[in-house]
Symmetry: C2
């Protein structure tokens, strides 16, 4: 982070016509943004929501309330402007790009085989890095992929251990039996790959999926290019956790957009020490919670850059 830019924001915040700290997290966000954008005046002029879509062999195990075909149907809906994320992007002027990660060819069922080869995992991470091409100044990482909350649970369990059931939730809305199938799939995957999950990237390759690899790549590239990141829900956070497992400061340029209703997300946020901006019981994916959180970042920038100072406005300071 650029400490000089952060200091510049702090100095200006102290001069704006409000009690010190009265804008709460908006002030923190302005400072964080400037630090990672490496400029004294933060911007949200070109925010982009990137949706990474993957298809998962494990979906055949009845781990979702929806058929696997929905993944590709939703890609069409994103293109046609019909999904929730299109409405949120439209309402607040956010760009939207969808990355189709070979959804015509699902990864192998990870209870039987590794989800990706090493080459495929690396290539998918590299593809994810493309998300910030073209002058993005704030990136939201989101996803689509029937079955991917089961994958997120497997990855979280591989990285953090603990009781598998604690990492599994209802996803798109499965019933008790569906939850049991999810737990069984995760346990089978952990057993199948036992002894090969200590390296976080190897865990990603074996019990992850393509959107997880791409999100990891996007977050890395954003760090290098000075683009702050808003992480969406459980799946995107599980992908981010792979980087965190290598280096606890790897997500310092990221903020959690929201806390989703999905059970494992709260645990994951706590492990990663990410404090969500919103808590609205959303659990849709598509980057929807992260996109909505961009409004908070926009407000932070608008207040920081647009407000007058005590001197400019001739307002009396603290007496």
């Amino acid at each position: 982070p650029d400490e000089a830019s952060a200091a510049s924001v702090r100095a200006r915040e102290a001069e704006l016509i409000k009690p010190a700290g009265a804008l709460g997290r908006l002030e923190e966000i302005a400072e964080w943004l400037a630090a990672w954008q490496r400029k004294p005046t933060p911007t949200v002029d070109r925010p982009l929501v990137a949706i990474f879509a993957g298809a998962h062999g494990v979906a055949a195990r009845g781990v979702s309330a929806y058929p696997a075909a929905v993944t590709r149907q939703m890609l069409d809906a994103f293109s046609s402007g019909q999904a929730a994320i299109n409405q949120i992007c439209g309402a607040f002027g956010l760009g939207l790009k969808v990355f189709d990660l070979a959804t015509e060819k699902p990864t192998p069922d990870f209870t039987e085989d590794a989800a990706m080869t090493e080459a495929e995992c690396a290539a998918t991470m590299a593809y994810g890095m493309e998300a910030i091409a073209g002058g993005v100044d704030l990136l939201v990482v989101g996803e689509m992929g029937i079955g991917n909350t089961t994958v997120a649970s497997a990855l979280a369990a591989a990285l953090f251990g603990g009781d598998v059931a604690d990492w599994v939730g209802r996803g798109t809305g499965v019933d008790e039996e569906g939850v049991a199938r999810k737990v069984a799939a995760v346990e089978a995957a952990l057993e199948r790959h036992a002894g090969n999950l200590d390296d976080p990237l190897e865990a990603l390759r074996r019990v992850g999926g393509r959107e997880f690899a791409a999100i990891g790549g996007a977050i890395l590239a954003a760090r290098l290019e000075g683009v702050p990141v808003v992480i969406d829900g459980f799946v995107a956070t599980a992908a981010a956790a792979v980087l965190h497992a290598y280096d606890a400061s790897a997500l310092a340029h990221c903020v959690a957009g929201h806390k989703s209703a999905e059970a494992g997300h709260k645990r994951l946020l706590k492990r990663l020490e990410l404090k969500p901006l919103l808590d609205l019981d959303m659990r849709l994916g598509e980057g929807s919670g992260g996109a909505l959180a961009v409004t908070i970042v926009k407000a932070a920038v608008a207040c920081h850059t647009g407000m007058a100072t005590f001197a400019e406005a001739a307002v009396s300071e603290k007496g």
Copy 2:
């Protein structure tokens, strides 16, 4: 509320391309909005932030970190587009109206006399009712007034009882001695008006202030005219509490925009059973937290009205 409109929203929500309930509170908000706007398709086309500004005799007791002159200076800042609320309204297309409630003539110090006469209190409530004139479809009630967190604490203590210190916070940022002066002022006011605070309107008149009366009027008028309301922070919520004290359902057309960092606000929200949309440690007033929460309402309406149904998008339903 209009049950038919609410039912219409629920029926459409069930058809939209997302798992049932996956948009969490956004779905509740769409339904609530339609019910109180009394139309099957809710809108946020003409949202208005109303700032009610009052001046308080009790400010002379050193209960604020800022001189009383700041109230009128901030009115100039609002007019010139220099304050935080101007930036938030500008960023999200919200209208802004400022109601100057005779700030040139502060109310008497309520530790010595009633803040308002009966006629003045009634006239101020009526003036507040003007807030929704001109086709507003969503109203945010906010305020400005040096000393008014002390007034809010007095009103909350009068309405709900309990330890005065539990209702008093740091406001604009007073130190420990300032907090002690606030507690002393509230205790003196409660003692001065003892025996006359059982009627909520009489409590408002005696230990309230003009912006509190006007906000009460605005919330009442909004109810009658089918305008849902977003309540800002501690002061606005204390004003709303007066109506709640008469009828526990009086705020059903209101949502709490945010939970502020001001100590008493959390207690008050709990008493009123209001669940805030945002929790960002803001404590500025000016309607700022409520205005920011309008983005959530806008997103709810955009998703509800703009998304395609499963049939329209040819997306497979739950299997």
